[in-house]
């Protein structure tokens, strides 16, 4: 960790606070994500993990704190700049969030409609869509509707959609939730392959210990809206703290 002290993070979150009425979800959360790193955020259901990650992409406005992505403050940013910055971020939603009135092809073409220029050496929409689907091993599903795909296939298509603009940062919100153990392993493997191929920085929100063990370089435990513990998987899994142990025993 000490070696990273002088490196500039690609994503930095300082003292983030967010409340919904009397429910104080985030009470000063801090985070740094470095280039090429897989950072796992673990926490109980309702601990504010999804709220935090939605604050990061500007879907929820935090009450206070700062969010800097690639050295730009997203809270004070205008809509046009934010839309441009979002093309540098891939986001995998918990329920895949595929557009159910569109085919797989149209789902993947959607982010390209306004941002083709963001891709270096852009060849054609068709080429990009096929390349993204081949990356997740689902080239044959190109003309199917999302309803015709299994849960695991939907998650992989959603990953292909998140990757199509070749983002530098990918955020995964519960990537293995609702999947059987075998499909979950396939998804985790796919995440590792993508990270190696594109050298992306990944922020993974999960409460799947297996997922965290396989993929994480570093972990943060989010408890009661703050960073409760931080370290590598080994450091945290060997911790004597009862609250930390509770995550690994389950």
């Amino acid at each position: 960790m000490t070696s990273k002290k002088n490196i500039k993070p690609v994503l930095e979150l300082k003292n983030l606070k967010k409340s919904f009425g009397d429910n104080h979800v985030l009470k000063g959360f801090n985070l740094k994500l470095f280039e090429g790193e897989n950072l796992v955020i673990m926490g109980k259901s309702g601990s504010g993990k999804s709220v935090m990650v939605k604050c990061l992409v500007g879907l929820i406005q935090p009450d206070s704190g700062s969010i800097r992505i690639k050295d730009q403050d997203i809270i004070t940013m205008g809509q046009t700049e934010l839309d441009l910055l979002r093309t540098e971020i891939g986001f995998l939603f918990q329920g895949s969030a595929l557009y159910d009135s569109m085919t797989v092809r149209e789902n993947l073409e959607f982010p390209l409609r306004r941002h083709k220029d963001k891709i270096e050496n852009f060849q054609s929409t068709e080429f990009s869509v096929k390349e993204a689907l081949e990356n997740v091993g689902l080239a044959h599903t190109i003309d199917l509707m999302p309803a015709e795909l299994s849960g695991g296939m939907q998650r992989r298509v959603a990953m292909a959609r998140a990757l199509i603009l070749k983002p530098k940062i990918i955020m995964y919100d519960e990537p293995t939730t609702g999947l059987d153990p075998i499909t979950a392993k396939e998804i985790i493997q796919l995440m590792r392959t993508i990270q190696k191929k594109y050298n992306t920085s990944s922020l993974i929100i999960t409460h799947d210990v297996d997922c965290a063990r396989v993929i994480s370089n570093r972990m943060i435990l989010l408890v009661d809206g703050i960073n409760y513990a931080e370290g590598t998987f080994e450091e945290l899994s060997n911790s004597k703290d009862e609250q930390v142990q509770a995550f690994f025993k389950s």
Binding site: V57, L59, R86, F91, F93, A97, Y99, R114, H115, L165
Partner: protein, 260 residues
């Protein structure tokens, strides 16, 4: 005291919702004139709303004309005024009954559909996914739908009116031995520009109200399947109420300008 509090709270939330809806409409007017324009999606929505409502509007219009003529005939016959049938039916349908009934039918068919569709997209995070991909979901989903309903409703109403008059002509032909040519001559003699213009302008506002309220309810849908149901249901309730308010205002304004 509890009842008073409940009434006060409901009144407050009603006016808060009206305020939110006004801001939503304001955002629509800001976004509708600024590029990029989603023409392809607009055409798709026009097709969905126009073409897929044709049968429903046609059947409703036809039965409306048929029943209206059948019900009015005995009364007019009592006064020996059956020759006024064509002008009475055409004026009633074109000025008032046609636009209101067809708009109410479309509120159920289109307004609830938009509320449910956008509501389920909100609940399943599809709208968030659009936003995260750097596309403006308001422009893609809301602006296109509101413009489509605003363009399509006048056309559906004109077509529904025409089919209602056809239904009426059939009854007159069968019951009163009035030829189609004579019936439609009487219809066109009775109808003036001052009958068609306010009705068409009114139907533009009806279309706008259906699109805007349907989109507002769906776009701001609460979480869960209950939220989707509520969005769809309350969209129809609000639209129906709004249609009558718009109709009242339209008749009032028409009376000032055209002296009806």
């Amino acid at each position: 005291m509890n009842n008073e509090n409940a009434i006060l709270s409901n009144t407050k939330s009603f006016f808060a919702e009206i305020g939110d809806m006004t801001f939503f409409a304001g955002r629509f007017f800001r976004e509708v004139f600024s590029p990029p324009f989603e023409f392809k999606e607009l055409v798709r929505q026009c097709y969905n709303m126009g073409n897929r409502s044709l049968l429903l509007v046609s059947v409703t219009g036809f039965i409306l004309g048929l029943v209206f003529t059948l019900q009015s005939r005995p009364t007019l016959m009592q006064f020996g005024a059956q020759s006024w049938m064509a002008s009475m039916v055409s004026l009633s349908i074109v000025r008032e009954i046609g636009p209101v009934i067809i708009a109410l039918i479309c509120a159920g068919r289109i307004g609830s559909g938009i509320g449910a569709e956008l509501g389920s997209m909100r609940v399943t995070e599809q709208i968030d996914a659009m936003e995260v991909s750097g596309t403006n979901p308001f422009k893609y989903l809301v602006v296109t739908r509101v413009v489509a309903t605003t363009l399509m409703l006048p056309l559906l109403i004109i077509m529904g009116d025409a089919i209602a008059l056809l239904g009426s002509a059939i009854v007159e032909n069968l019951k009163g031995d009035v030829s189609f040519l004579l019936y439609f001559n009487q219809v066109f003699d009775a109808l003036q520009f001052s009958d068609l213009l306010p009705a068409t302008v009114k139907s533009v506002f009806f279309g706008f109200a259906i699109g805007l309220v349907g989109c507002y309810k769906g776009y701001n849908c609460a979480k869960g399947t209950v939220g989707v149901g509520e969005a769809s249901n309350s969209a129809v309730v609000y639209i129906s109420m709004l249609l009558f308010i718009i109709d009242f205002i339209a008749v009032f304004v028409t009376d000032i300008f055209f002296d009806i």
